[in-house]
Amino acid sequence: MIWHIIKKQGLLFWRNKQQLILLIALPIILIAILGAALGSGFDNESSPIKMKVAFIEQVEEQDQIEQFLTDLQEQVPSGVVDEIKSNIDMMAPITNIKAVLESEEVKEFLEITYMDPSEKSVIVDDESYTAIVEVPEGFSYDVLESMVFNNVISPTLLITYNEEQQVGTSIVSSFFTQFQEQLTLGTFLGEKGIDLSAIDYQEVNGEVISINEQKPVSASAYYTIGMTVMNVLFLAGAVGYYAYYEKEINVFNRIIMANISRWVYFSGVLASGTIFAFIQSLIIFGFSWLVYGIRFPDILDFLVVTVAYSFAIGGLAVLLSALNYRLNSETITNFFMNIIATLLAVLGGSFYPIGDFSSLFQTLGNMTPNGAGLTAYLTLLRGEGIAGISDNLMYLVIFALMTVVVAALCFPKRGVSA
């Protein structure tokens, strides 16, 4: 019976071309527009979000390394010095930072210009730069010393951000923050496979994401996800409208008169919302895969997120339907479609990665179903597995269950509340 209700809903969507356009064509158009507005096209080899960063070194690293090795000979046995010497290339922090900055993945979104300290004042006035990275005097020396002697001093890179470029700033900032964390925690060395008995690693607290693993996400990919999770919200509203329409024109009464339990109908709405949200997502993602080449590293993980998100949408659809029935009007669905959905979309980061501004926004965003979906998809796209998004998945499932429970409590007896 539930199957017939789903099939009928599918037929109604199919016959209602205008709705179909709103639910499927519109997000695809929005992806194109937003992607084009921010990126330099949809060539997914190069990231459309590109930030210019100036890099200023006060003193040549090589000088500092020599100074360090000279000083070292007075403090440790010559065997150890020799070993450090043979590995010094891998330990030199600036050389390594540069290697990372020059790597293909990073070059996709960071454009590095090396500058002389004397040029700094010119760069500061240049609006096109997102950030200026300054390596202070003695930085490499200090880093090496803290590595070998496990000192508590933490050498710091000076980074000046251009406040005008908020998104870029947050990206560059998190990039260097992670880099620096790894550097001071010694994991950088670990990554490079160096094992020196004299070096005592500090305990690594928390998760340190390796820079090379974290692929940047292109604007077209970001907006594919953003627009999909947003437009799937509208599907919940559409299903809510249909359900209310069925009550309005007495089709619901016909179903009740056929001795079909209202809970069967209720489940039919839930299942319709879930299944059609799933299909809608697949179509939009499928399109952006074919046209923009946006594809998820692991299809199974992708499907898990899509199912969880679709379930949350099904819950939302049945909640809206139940409220329509209870209040005997479609005002709630109107309100959801015109105001709440847009609010959720903004908060969830569909238009703009607002979570990058502050952790409060990030937390709030992840507490919207679409925001949780977006974060989950983005994380997958960056190459992480299911483990990295268990919180988001959990949230989506809990959200779905809660909406279903609330909807069941609201759903009026006999479907009439008069």
Binding site: R15, N253, R254
Partner: protein, 310 residues
């Protein structure tokens, strides 16, 4: 077969239906007549277990349907007042969906859909979407959907509102045929007295939530036994004529049309010469003065002082 006992529905302070008592026997066509807002739909909704009564009971084969509606729902076909169809789907798709809702499937479902399409005369339009149908065709399909599961009782809520006379006759004939050929029990609701008069064996008349008359057609018309109806037509009506008619002690009620006045007078009164005199004195050019056989409309007028339709 079906019995309504002191059925009452109150919306806030207003009684939509008040102490309604009715019965329907197997094989009857029973009419429920009343103007808009009389409470017909509310009564029907309670009767078909879709709306809970404020008080009173509905009994089917001596069992209350309020507690156990399932056996009753199984044998009832409900034709709601509005078009309860998916207008984006075709006639056939609608019938298939509602048939499946009634747990029909496979060959049986196909056979039933074909049969119903034949009955409602839409076989050649089965593949067309309902929103392209005329009002009359939509009404017919609205009835067809209620007949898919071979109901013993058909409850029809104003099934002919707003359609062309041809479709209307088709529907009335179909109902009559179903009753004669299959002994289907019908409760027919309408505010058109001609329909009820044509179809029904017994009639209930409601107004403002109250039952104001009930019985067979003849019994109800007996209510008018002490009065007769006279219809006067003329070239052009004027207010003065209406006024003098109203003031005449023999005339009980006056209703006016465009070129027509209907009056109720005592059965034994001879008023023809009086009418002609009054017409002359007020400058009215008479076309005819007729003694009419009373209609249900007249009964309603007699009981309420208002016309059935506005």
């Amino acid at each position: 077969m079906i019995e309504l006992v002191d059925l009452t529905k109150k919306f806030k302070q207003m009684y939509a239906v008040k102490n309604l008592n009715m019965f329907i026997e197997r094989g009857e066509i029973v009419g429920l007549l009343g103007p808009n807002g009389a409470g017909k739909s509310t009564a029907i909704s309670m009767l078909s277990s879709l709306v809970e009564p404020t008080s009173g009971d509905v009994r089917f084969e001596n069992n209350s349907i309020l507690k156990k509606p399932a056996p009753f729902r199984k044998v009832v076909g409900m034709v709601p007042q509005n078009i309860a169809l998916y207008t984006d789907l075709t006639a056939e798709e609608n019938l298939l969906f509602f048939g499946r809702i009634y747990r029909l499937h496979g060959k049986e479902l196909e056979r039933k859909v074909d049969e119903v399409l034949e009955q409602i005369g839409l076989t050649d339009r089965r593949k067309d979407v309902v929103k392209k149908f005329s009002g009359g065709m939509q009404r017919r399909l609205n009835i067809g959907v209620a007949m898919l599961h071979d109901p013993e009782v058909l409850i029809m809520d104003e099934p002919t509102v707003g359609i062309d006379p041809q479709s209307r006759n088709y529907i009335l004939e179909t109902v009559k045929r179903l009753n004669e050929d299959r002994n289907m029990t019908v409760l027919y609701t309408s505010h058109y007295m001609e329909e009820v008069e044509f179809l029904c064996d017994r009639i209930y008349i409601m107004d403002k939530g109250n039952l104001i008359a009930s019985g067979t057609k003849d019994e109800i018309k007996q209510i008018l036994s002490s009065e007769k109806t006279i219809s006067i037509t003329m070239e052009r009506l004027n207010d003065e004529f209406v006024e003098v008619l109203k003031q005449n002690p023999q005339v009980n009620r006056v209703t006016t049309g465009e070129k027509e006045v209907t009056i109720l007078v005592p059965r034994d009164a001879n008023v023809f010469s009086e009418i002609i005199r009054l017409a002359e004195s007020t400058g009215i050019e008479l076309n005819s003065v007729d003694n009419k056989t009373p209609t249900l409309e007249d009964v309603f007028l007699h009981l309420t002082g208002r016309a059935l339709r506005d």
